[in-house]
């Protein structure tokens, strides 16, 4: 329950299974940028890491909190973790994730909201 002494926190998580996977960094950066643009998020810091043999993590500090994306190319899976302290609705988040991938590439998308 939110009260006057608690920050507004919208926390959404997406687990996406794709039918195939483009392992390039530019692919996942483009996906992330689509989500950032759709949700009108402002990036203030960014870091990334390429794992061996596969997988990427992109971590963005936002003026509204954070967005972190992990990929597991060998499992054709992407995990998206968004925390915002300015309002974004879960439907907006769902739409942003769906829009960021080509429809024919999506096997499944599961979305969770983390509520205190």
């Amino acid at each position: 329950m939110t009260n006057q002494s608690t920050p507004t926190i919208n926390h959404y998580v997406a687990l996406i299974k794709l039918k195939s996977f483009d392992e390039s960094l530019v692919f996942i950066e483009d996906v992330t940028q689509e989500i950032i643009n759709y949700l009108d998020l402002k990036v203030v810091k960014k870091t990334s890491h390429l794992f061996s043999p596969k997988g990427v993590t992109l971590a963005y500090i936002l003026s509204e909190s954070h967005l972190v994306i992990h990929t597991w190319p060998e499992l054709t899976t992407v995990h998206i973790d968004l925390v915002t302290c300015s309002y974004r609705g879960i439907e907006e988040f769902k739409t942003s994730v769906n829009s960021a991938f080509s429809e024919e590439d999506i096997e499944s998308i599961e979305i969770k909201s983390v509520d205190f």
Copy 2:
């Protein structure tokens, strides 16, 4: 439900209310380091941002995924978001968070697990 084609993901979130708040960067870095040490996490990248007029975000990419901490000093609140793809139990996470703060400073700690 986890299956062979899904990565292992342990995702825990903590919302901590403190009785008072040390606004220094070193305080929250020390808290974070305690959690990292307790859970034996390996940091591969780190970035941080100081918000105006108050508040800090620390984002760590881990060899096991990510850890992001936000502070709202004006609301004496800390938010901790941990995603690991190597096993850590929720009880370990709870203990790590409890141990990272002085007992007399804690007003409340709420913990959530995000499960797909």
